[in-house]
């Protein structure tokens, strides 16, 4: 979703959180349970906050994550 809706974003996996930078703003997402970093299940509230924080186009995001509708 980020590749399509936030082109040019930077995603950095740090020890505790995932950090995403896009057009001068930053957002964070939790890692998965048991510290799983790959294919982590992330609750929808975190995604919604990231979309708001980074100013992403909602139509683009909903196309890739319909559960946000």
């Amino acid at each position: 979703m980020l590749r399509k809706c936030a082109p040019g974003h930077e995603l950095v996996e740090k020890t505790h959180l995932h950090w995403i930078w896009f057009e001068g703003k930053r957002a964070t997402l939790p890692q998965g349970k048991h510290g799983r970093k790959n294919n982590a299940e992330i609750e929808i509230g975190h995604i919604r906050n990231m979309v708001r924080q980074l100013g992403l186009d909602e139509d683009c995001v909903k196309k890739h994550l319909p559960q946000l509708s």
């Binding site: 020890t15 505790h16 959180l17 930053r26 964070t28 929808i44 509230g45 919604r48 906050n49 924080q53």
Partner: protein
Amino acid sequence: MAKYPLLFTYRDLVAGKDFLAGITTNGRGLLVEEADGTWTMYGVYPGAIAGVGESREAATAQFRDMYRAALYDIAETATSFHELAAEVKSFFHDKNEINEAEWDQAAERISSEGQGDGWLRTQKAKKHPPKVKVEEVSDRGAEANQLDEEPVAAVA
């Protein structure tokens, strides 16, 4: 969908490379009961974090954990106290503007209704402006250990 404009004060001791920092945050978050009955605390100051849970307590607890985790991530890469302080201030002031607009509306609603819900005290928003303080506390001893304050709902 219930929305509560929270004012919170978090106090953390964060260890960095050769220093100990005391970080006090007067922040803002929007606590929302979602349509499916779960709760989300959306960050305003700082805007980059959120917390989710089956109850308001779980959501606010996860938000607190996310905030602490962010400080620890920042501390890991800071090469000096001053670098840590600058990055923490930048992180805190990276406001979530959409959440802030809803937060303001929720504070107006509570003002017009005259009181918050029974489980939450209220405070005028202007008495709790958003700010963060970062101090080097390596020589303070136990005096540097301080607890958080209970969150309150903002009134306009």
